[in-house]
Amino acid sequence: MADPKEAIKENSMIIQKEMLARQFKDLSMAKELGKKVVYTFVPGNLTELILSFDMLPVYPEINALQSGMRKKSAEYIRDAEKIGFSEDVCTYVKCDIGMMLNGNIGPTGEKIPPPDLLLLSYTGCFTFLKWFENLERLYPGVPVAMLHTPYQEDGVMTEDQINYMVKQLKEEVIPKMEQVSGQKYDHARLSKMMENSAKAEDLLVKILESAKIVPSPIDAYFAGVYYIGPIFTAFRGTGEAVDYYTELWNEVQQRIKLGLGPVTPEGEIKEEKFRLVVEGPPNWTNFREFWKIFYDMGAVIVASSYTKVGGVYDLGFRHDPKEPLESLAKYCMGVYTNMNLPQRVDMLEKYVNEYKADGFLINSIKSCNSFSAGQLMIMREIEQRAGVPVGFIESDLVDPRYFSYANIKNRLESYFQMLEQRKIILKQEEATV
């Protein structure tokens, strides 16, 4: 079980906590502040555009994951199942619906206001469509704006696809935002925000890529989910986000200078025994226990696909102040789950090689087809191409019924033994050469 001792807090963590507290405070006071509230999703979000209309975004999947971390999700999921949702479907949706049925109290204990606009800008998952159909019925009469993101079918973004998206933005999304907010679209303001986006994105890439150093100064999965928080959600395009990433980057540089390993809630990793690339989202209900298994084994996650669901910045994309709408289109199409399977495999293979990983591990999420369907094939491909041992565990995002600590621990222990063995063999081979 998780060690109850107090986790180490770096300055960047405190800053992020304050940012979140302010965000949810603003949301709880949206009415008093005269701000309109937009419900939208993380992958392929239009945060800068929303903020440029002085509206406040709400991301239901963030609420769901927070509910999971706060041990509320079991109850919420149960309530959603009581009204007819199947055991088999995405637990994020059920958790969110359950949260609404229970008064829509957010992670900070404050009430999240109902939406003024449902902005269905989503990427890489069909469940988002269903989720919004449900929300539309829970909030009848609230305007819905839809931005359809074409899939990277051929592994590229075509001009036609970009034009399609920009047209939707101009003719569907922006007019709805103008109508709801009562403000005119401000191109210059949006463009200015994108300067901040790009600055923060540069910093995030440096931070994530610091894990290429051996030993790595960061954990790019468990800690990575915190690092991506501000940029994947309500803060992209703000000065606050730039400040946060500047601070975080300073901390990481400091760690590099001192040769320190990643910070974890259990303390610093003193010896990096294994370097892993992980595919798939983490489990939230038992996040700390889950992380601790890796900590105990000296395993550091040096790269992960989950930290790319809100943008694959390390492959070069940046929001572009010169063409803000086009870059929103490219951003939405570029996120990890909108990449086709061959692209995903290429990216993961590249990670294994460039981050000098000892192994590749999949955490397969029971209720998330977007990630899970095809993962076993991804695993085979990586095993063949990168030649590293692959591992496979199963859990769920926010349904505690599907997190079996003993099972996961056993599997991981055998996997780490396999990695250990391989290291010994590789060393022996090196010595003979």
Partner: protein, 387 residues
């Protein structure tokens, strides 16, 4: 004219021939013919026809094939359909196919398109995206671009450029096909005993694996047959089955529902064949535009499609009313996200309209139907009792 029993027997064979012999024979008869496989639910088959192709619905293996390799590609919590499809691909059942289309209905089918790409099955593997924007100048334009990509894929295989004339001709054939299918449903509505749901299923499913011209012949004969009396009316209730638009229920399940005293008057089993409602303009100078308009404005509803502004719950209730049915059987594949996520809302609409309903989940290879039969029987009895 063949007897109806003979037609049905032939259709059953064609529908479940996992070697797709009928389509292969057609392809072998002439050079430059192509077979394009498509996954559920809907693709505009007209464009494939016009490009000298036959479109074949890959509707899963049902209970006709043991799945061994497919299970190694999918976790236990993913629906059954794609594992059967992979099994077929690995067992060379699909080798005569030139290309594959994966309609944008769910993440499983989408990722399956990538698995086909990775394993280089066929000469092309295309994810066929539907616009979620329903204005002609935005979503319509996007849809036409999707159609053009498919035409280009086929051109790259057989060098056939599609003319407006050819496309209009194909649209005409499929208009006829849809019209005949709807005629069968209309006849069955008043006299469902003349053609059982299973028989109807064989006839429609066979149509996904044979040239449309041949299928039209068959449908014409079926219509002629069922205009005459056949079978015995039973004291059955009338139901609409909803939720089986992709992975198909086993035949035993459909039979069990009927044997339990339910006439199935409408369903979404072969939704692709019935997706466009009514005729598509077949004398346009721009037939791709006509197809696109039909998609945008003449599509039926399904859990696999986004519907804000035209909620499917209401449309399901309308369908039940149109078919003068007594109830709804929600019948979805286990782990089918689109169907199962819609279920609470659809049930709510049914409740609000006072329409009784029950709910089953299945795998395409489920072999036990005792419980389903009992439940459907109780459902039927309760409706009769309270009617």
């Amino acid at each position: 004219m063949k007897s109806l029993d003979q037609i049905i027997a032939e259709c059953e064979e064609i529908a479940f021939d996992l070697k797709f012999s009928r389509a292969r024979k057609w392809k072998d008869e002439q050079d430059n013919r192509v077979i394009v496989g498509y996954l559920p639910t809907y693709v505009p088959r007209e464009i494939i026809h016009a490009a000298n192709g036959i479109s074949v619905g890959i509707m899963g293996t049902g209970d006709r094939k043991q799945i061994i390799k497919g299970d190694a590609y999918y976790q236990s919590y993913i629906c059954h359909l794609p594992r059967g499809v992979i099994e077929m691909a690995l067992d060379n059942n699909l080798d005569a196919f030139d290309g594959f289309l994966f309609p944008a209905i769910c993440d499983c089918i989408r990722n399956l398109s990538g698995m086909f790409k990775l394993s280089k099955k066929g000469k092309f593997q295309r994810y066929f995206d539907y616009p979620q924007n329903f204005s002609s100048s935005i979503g319509g334009k996007f849809y036409i671009q999707e159609l053009e990509k498919v035409l280009e894929d086929i051109f790259n295989v057989n060098g056939v450029r599609v003319t407006a004339k050819a496309l209009n001709h194909s649209i005409g054939l499929y208009n006829k096909n849809r019209h005949l299918i709807e005629t069968i449903y209309t006849i069955r509505q008043s006299t469902p005993w003349r053609l059982s749901a299973v028989e109807t299923y064989y006839i429609l499913r066979a149509g996904q694996c044979m040239p449309v011209e041949d299928h039209n012949d068959i449908l014409e004969q079926v219509v002629a047959h069922i205009q005459k009396e056949r079978g015995e009316p039973m004291d059955n209730i009338r139901v609409v089955v909803s939720g089986s638009f992709c992975e198909q229920p086993p035949i035993g399940l459909i039979k069990s529902i009927e044997l339990a005293g339910c006439y199935i008057l409408d369903d979404d089993f072969m939704l692709g064949s019935r997706f466009i409602q009514g005729n598509i303009t077949d004398d346009s100078e721009d037939p791709l535009h006509a197809l696109s308009e039909a998609y945008l404005h003449q599509s039926t509803f399904s859990s696999a499609f986004y519907d804000v502004g035209n909620p499917k719950g209401k449309r399901l209730v309308e369908l039940v009313r149109k078919r003068a049915s007594d109830g709804i059987i929600f019948c979805a594949a286990s782990f089918c996200d689109p169907a199962l996520l819609d279920r609470p809302e659809l049930q709510k609409e049914a409740d609000a309209a006072g329409i009784p309903h029950i709910n089953f989940q299945f795998h395409e290879n489920t072999g036990q139907f005792k419980i389903i039969k009992e439940q459907a029987g109780t459902f039927s009895d309760s409706i009769k009792l309270w009617a």
